[in-house]
């Protein structure tokens, strides 16, 4: 998976038959098609329960969590040269979440995916982080860049919420999800700048000019992971834009393209 020209998508999602979409296989195939064209050598991915079909995307039921993780494990088996898994859990079901992490890590999961089922600084997340610390697992946490109010269908967290959690668990690596995924990313940069165990991924549909440059200034190239999330064309645009930030050496670009992800997810 790794070579000097590797490209790791640190924030990818797949669908499965339980997502209630007749085109789910086409969507998965489109991710592989576009990934091949972009040169992605590793999709670090998760499946978010039933993606809203039988329980809400951001509040997945335990049954949907298991079904999604099972589908993700199966996909990893089929695409073992190209896909690595983050295990999705809902921290409202603590015992179930801990069991699901152990089950999926035993079968190759390289990290944990937390959604917006509970605020990031809620004590319910502590047992999950303690397990992550014991197992050396990074946590990718869904984030709204600057939470100014509640939004429907999710108990959303922002960079400041994640920073409080990360300070309680300094040996765990946290990934602040999708700086382009909505909200004021400058707020996030300020909130996590000094919390060294938080990295950020560059995914999301937002492609504001200045977003990448300011992320590099705030966090440095060693704390950024390239990713796409739901819009691979914006990921591709940001990948191409890296060469024009004027702030990066070739080594820094490689760090963002794959080296940081390989280090954090322990992928060789």
């Amino acid at each position: 998976m790794t070579s000097p020209e590797s490209l790791f998508d640190a924030h990818a999602h797949f669908l499965h038959a339980g997502c209630g979409r007749s085109d789910w296989e086409e969507v998965n195939a489109a991710r592989f098609r576009a990934g091949a064209r972009m040169g992605i050598t590793c999709h670090v991915a998760s499946i978010l329960g039933s993606h809203g079909f039988s329980s809400p995307t951001y509040f997945p039921s335990p049954e949907d969590v298991v079904a999604g993780n099972d589908a993700m494990l199966e996909l990893c088996e089929r695409q073992r040269d190209l896909v690595r898994m983050l295990v999705t859990v809902n921290p409202n079901y603590t015992r179930h979440a801990l069991g699901e992490i152990e089950r999926c890590v035993a079968r190759g999961a390289v990290g944990i995916k937390l959604l917006a089922s509970r605020r990031a600084d809620d004590p319910l997340l502590d047992p999950i982080c303690e397990l992550a610390a014991r197992r050396g697992l990074p946590i990718l946490h869904h984030i709204w860049q600057h939470r100014r109010r509640e939004w429907p269908s999710q108990e959303i967290s922002d960079g400041a919420d994640l920073a409080r959690l990360a300070r309680r668990h300094p040996t765990v690596t946290f990934i602040l999800a999708h700086i382009g995924g909505g909200g004021d990313y400058h707020h996030s940069y300020a909130a996590v700048r000094d919390v060294q165990n938080i990295l950020a991924d560059t995914s999301g549909s937002g492609v504001d000019r200045g977003m990448l440059d300011d992320a590099i200034v705030a966090l440095g190239a060693r704390r950024l992971l390239w990713g796409s999330d739901l819009t691979m064309e914006t990921g591709y645009a940001k990948l191409r834009a890296l060469d024009h930030t004027g702030l990066l050496s070739p080594d820094d670009i490689r760090a963002i393209r794959w080296r940081n992800a390989a280090r954090v997810f322990c992928i060789e």
Partner: protein, 253 residues
């Protein structure tokens, strides 16, 4: 290829690096684009855009004909017909209007009258659905997105009208396109600067249903990365990679 959705000037709600005409010319060259239709970003927020238009004409003059001015004209402002005439004399291919920022409701007769006047002068009307993602807007940025009904209403105003709608999503485009007669559909072109690519493949779906010939190339510079629309085209499925876009220079052909 022409970029129909470029702007110069600062944005009131966040810092934009180097939103200047000479930088735009270098970016176009880097992206292998032959020119751009350029608006003046702060004019969208001025009560009277006249001074902004004067700045635009002055800023672009050294870069003619690579950069063509697209002035902002308010149809609810006295003497707008003189501004349309000035735009024509400045070789503007289009004018920009911002109904949401000016609180002009869909169906406002003044908008329709100006769109017809522009069409008669062989100038298009550029509409902007959004400048930024709804989720990151400044608390004072309360105008909201342009409504699909506003586009349908203008497309129905008359045969001479030509619209270029920028920063629309797939749902917006479909709602307008399939809400118009085939003749009215021909009056509307779309940029795809905010249309999703894979894995959902919204752009591919639109090319298959609405048709690639209804789309033009727009970057939304300096607000967004110029690399984005090119990346979207480069990730189309194989059978669509040679799809032809509309030529904005032939809008009135």
């Amino acid at each position: 290829m022409i970029d129909v959705n470029a702007l110069v000037g600062p944005y009131p709600f966040r810092f934009l690096p180097h939103p200047d005409a000479d930088v735009l010319v270098r970016v176009l060259e880097r992206e292998q684009l032959s020119g751009a239709w350029v608006g003046h970003l702060p004019s969208a927020f001025y009560r009277d855009p006249a001074a902004g238009n004067a700045q635009l004409y002055t800023a672009l003059a050294p870069h003619s004909p690579t950069l063509k001015p697209v002035p902002t004209i308010r149809p609810d402002w006295p003497d707008w017909k003189r501004n349309v005439q000035t735009a024509k004399e400045a070789d503007a291919p289009a004018v920009r209007v911002y109904p949401a920022q000016w609180q002009l409701a869909p169906g406002d007769a003044r908008l329709a009258e100006m769109a017809l006047a522009c069409g008669d002068a062989r100038m298009a009307v550029v509409l902007t659905v959004r400048f930024e993602d709804l989720r990151q807007r400044h608390p004072l940025d309360v105008a909201g997105d342009l409504q699909p009904a506003a586009v349908r209403s203008l497309a129905r105003a008359g045969a001479s009208v030509r619209l270029i709608v920028t920063a629309a999503s797939r749902e917006f485009i479909e709602e307008v396109h399939w809400g118009l007669t085939p003749e009215e559909q021909q009056r509307v072109l779309w940029d795809f600067s905010w249309v999703w690519g894979p894995p959902e493949d919204h752009l591919a779906k639109l090319f298959r249903t609405v048709g690639s010939e209804r789309f033009v190339y727009g970057t939304h510079w300096p607000l967004r990365l110029t690399q984005n629309p090119r990346a979207n085209l480069d990730l189309l499925p194989d059978e669509l990679r040679d799809a032809k876009l509309a030529d904005p220079a032939r809008l009135f052909a």
